[in-house]
Symmetry: C2
Subunit: 546 residues, 2 copies
């Protein structure tokens, strides 16, 4: 069968725009001789629609859009993800995450999702009920076994620990499916595309069935969908692979021989950089921002964010501001100047010192007799936030937050100061990873000045300050954080691995104590298996200590 | 049977403290001749523990604490809520939200929760599996039917629309339970205590079984648990009612006759005021803050918040700051002065004007040729935020955010400005409700100056500004918001009710567009059935419009 894979980028809730993408993709595929055209999970409403699903007007509009799309089909099949409802079901929500198959002017078949993920960033049990059963649909000589995303993530041959007792895809195979289709919207994390391929390879090989796996692409606030749709043959080999981090369209012929594709993923640096560029580009594009603003400190984080902004929006749409204080090193401004020139972006330089001094003057009665402390440091950062927000408000810039994951984890950031902004572009990237990305950016040419990469990290909020006055060396810190966050290891295991209980205790305590800051943080673009944001939920007020 | 109801206030994760509360309550009840002592849902670990449940070290510590508590029991029964695990279960989490019954030194019986709520603020499917079955446990001549919270919320006689297909409490009754026990942690919303009583009255009356319903009390960040434990006899009448918004302890004799209690709830104003006082008190107490700071604008919101802070922490622990600008009316400072005197709190007055002027001077090149707009208004609010945070940092004050629900809903608030703070004390209370609460505060004596109540609401960020320059009259606005948020009505229905499509469209659009601000807002104390925060989840980037 000739199947058109439509790996497109929807906007959540934009039914008109998404309908247009489905119809134009379908028409193109019909012209190209496809027999079946497939879009990703919940494409019609965008994924994840969150509490929009609870709105009846929204669900009705989705239903009408789906009916309208179906009415425009001919004999060529069209599968897309949408919300459906069982109006007869009087217990529970009666709402399903479904794949609908349309042809000859009607929705001919609906397969609801069986496995409803409810972990990490997934809250689907909040909205959707499980399919009561799965069914084969015969179409143009094939027995189609259609499933939705998580349905394919419970293969007994692949997983040591399974989340669910049932395996809907196995059931489709047992019922004689000759062609498996899975429509998916699986948020990106580095390493996951390779894992997905390995899982699907085991499944197709063991079940002796080809699989067309159609993935979402595009960023939806913090979640990035990386595309990389896959067509596997019944030997578990990869025949076709969709582009990563961009829209793609291609036709797969399940009867044809293909050369095996072996390269599934690029390097960490390249992948993550592309992911973040897409994340920022889509946040801006989907909210209508044309221009971005970055506060340039002279450090590596803001330099990398400025580079990402240029890739996402173009050099002419990126503006940076340097905001030195009396503690800023001469190098910081000079190095920033080199970067600005290299990137070809506009800039300005506004000292924070007069406003900091004026503020301290106004507060002097209140502060009388008290030593300088973190207050004065935070104040500098907050005056920078004040400037950045004023520039953003006045000129309509999207303000990019420049904090990295190591800082956000340990609370080494000022609430309402450097934490200001619409989107934390590198908030899921550790400091040590930022260095690697900077080196990757410089692989052919020095774009990020070497002085910025080489200098000791410093917030420059007091004389001769460095990050390591407050934090362990980043190599060690990030190692501990990665074990604690992504690998979900805990105190005893991390301590045994690091060989230093005090330092592990200190780091874990910093992470736990700073939930209150993260509650008020900008959304973080997710590129790891555990990002800060709604995939990680801890009480702000709590007493658990190890 | 004589049952001691222990309506106590746990701290999430504080296993040592919560263990102490269980043991001291148990000892007291043993001395008082109780035969069974009951604590609320997940009391040992605190509710909701959120992702702490995913930590193995945490679960192990909880298990050890439970075993330790059980080892200290004699023949008197002890029931408390805790996490248990099925280590043999290889599929899914194998983790349960359980009631354990201990006596004679051991855990003798475990009943797992059957109905796992996953809507609004509840994410329990993320952590807990459903009980495989429910069982009666015979103890001291009674057949105990033990259930946990949501288990009792699916009664077919009471609910028109049920969430779940099974009814575990009915099954316990069918299996011959002579005494029902439900341990609960059900977040407060005004009106819910009465609803709970009505539901439980139908259930006990129809099932002809008495019920001891033990509720959590205390605030856990944004969620407030109001206590109000209930003992109902087999005629569905209320025999005993626990105190609202404070810890309580009493013994219920299921064989004894009691006078029927008819008053379940106080007025809206009294209830909500008490809820907010508890919310702020527990946030401060459980995080170690002794003193609170409120920015006093001369308006009603900050006046009511200052009053709540005084009730929560005592007048000597509340400090307020007035931060006038050139747009502040003389009345604002004068009225604030009256309030400060009435409340007996400390205060200071620091003009923002010199810092605002200095900032505008620094930004003048960047702003050249552009008209004054919202930027300059936000800037004033942000300089106030700068002052408030500096005072909070320097003196260790808990900064109370003063925005009300009408403002947070419509985005009539400045991010990093008046939205600064650790806790949005009145963020779930509409402006029109704030007036009612102010009148209630003044019921015996004018505490909040009448001038503050009478003046037209204004942000005072430009000359002669009032809130109604940007928003509909609050009576109308709040009516629309209540329909949209709490009643979950949508555009067509609200428009039909209001009779003005444009105004409804404008308000709904403001609500939808301001998700980005609420993402970065302080936690909001929840007192309604739908508060901003994690019980309401909308995409920040989305295109749904009606």
């Amino acid at each position: 069968m000739k199947i058109a894979v439509c790996q497109f980028n929807p906007i959540i809730g934009d039914l008109k725009g998404n309908t247009g993408k489905i119809l134009s993709g379908y028409m193109r595929a019909v012209n190209d001789g496809a027999e079946l055209v497939v879009f990703s999970e919940l494409f019609l409403c965008g994924y994840p629609p969150l509490d929009l699903v609870e709105k009846k007007e929204f669900r009705n509009a989705v239903r009408n859009a789906a009916t309208d799309i179906a009415s425009q089909t001919n004999h060529v099949g069209l599968i897309f993800g949408t919300i459906t409802e069982d109006y007869e079901d009087k217990i529970g929500t009666g709402v399903y995450n479904s794949a609908v198959l349309c042809y000859d002017g009607k929705i001919q078949f609906i397969q609801n999702k069986s496995l409803i993920p409810n972990y990490d960033v997934f809250d689907e049990v909040r909205y959707f009920e499980s399919a009561k059963d799965v069914f084969i649909h015969e179409f143009k000589g094939e027995k189609l076994g259609i499933s939705i995303c998580e349905d394919i993530w419970n293969d007994a041959d692949y997983w040591k620990h399974r989340r669910y007792t049932i395996d809907p895809v196995q059931k489709l195979v047992d019922n004689g499916a000759t062609l498996l289709i899975n429509i998916s919207a699986s948020p990106y994390a580095y390493g996951k595309r390779k894992e997905k391929f390995e899982m699907l390879s085991v499944l197709t090989r063991n079940d002796k069935s080809p699989l067309v796996y159609v993935c979402a692409v595009g960023a939806q606030t913090e979640l990035i969908f990386d595309g990389g749709s896959m067509c596997l043959n019944s030997s578990g080999k990869l025949d076709l692979l969709g582009k990563a981090f961009e829209e793609d369209y291609f036709i797969y012929d399940s009867k044809k021989k293909y050369d095996e594709i072996k390269k599934i993923e690029s390097s960490f640096e390249e992948e993550v950089l592309n992911a973040l560029v897409l994340g920022l580009k889509d946040y801006a594009g989907k909210t209508g921002f044309k221009k971005a603003l970055v506060g340039l400190s002279g450090g590596i984080d803001s330099a990398v964010v400025a580079f990402i902004a240029v890739k996402a929006l173009g050099a002419k749409n990126v503006h940076v501001v340097m905001m030195p204080s009396k503690y800023s090193s001469h190098g910081s401004v000079k190095d920033s100047g080199k970067l600005i020139e290299e990137l070809g972006i506009s800039s300005e330089n506004i000292s924070i010192q007069p406003v900091v001094d004026k503020t301290l003057e106004m507060l002097k009665d209140s502060f009388r007799g008290l030593d300088e402390n973190i207050t004065e440091e935070n104040l500098q950062s907050r005056v920078r936030g004040l400037y950045l927000m004023a520039l953003s408000n006045k000129h309509g810039y999207l303000l990019c937050t420049t904090g990295n994951k190591s800082e956000i984890a340990t609370g080494y950031a000022t609430l309402y100061g450097d934490m200001c902004g619409a989107l934390a572009v590198i908030g899921d990237v550790y400091k040590t990873q930022i260095y690697k990305i900077a080196e990757f950016i410089n692989r052919d040419k020095e774009i990020i000045p070497i002085e910025i990469i080489k200098k000791a990290p410093s917030a420059e909020l007091r004389p001769n300050q460095t990050d390591q006055d407050s934090l362990p060396e980043y190599e060690l810190l990030d190692k501990i954080l990665r074990m604690y966050l992504e690998e979900q290891k805990e105190f005893e295991e991390i301590s045994a691995s690091i060989g230093n209980k005090e330092i592990v205790q200190k780091v874990l305590r910093l992470v736990d104590l700073n939930e209150f800051k993260r509650k008020q943080a900008a959304p973080v673009l997710r590129v790891s298996t555990k990002a800060f944001g709604y995939g990680r939920r801890f009480p702000i007020v709590q007493g658990w200590r190890k």
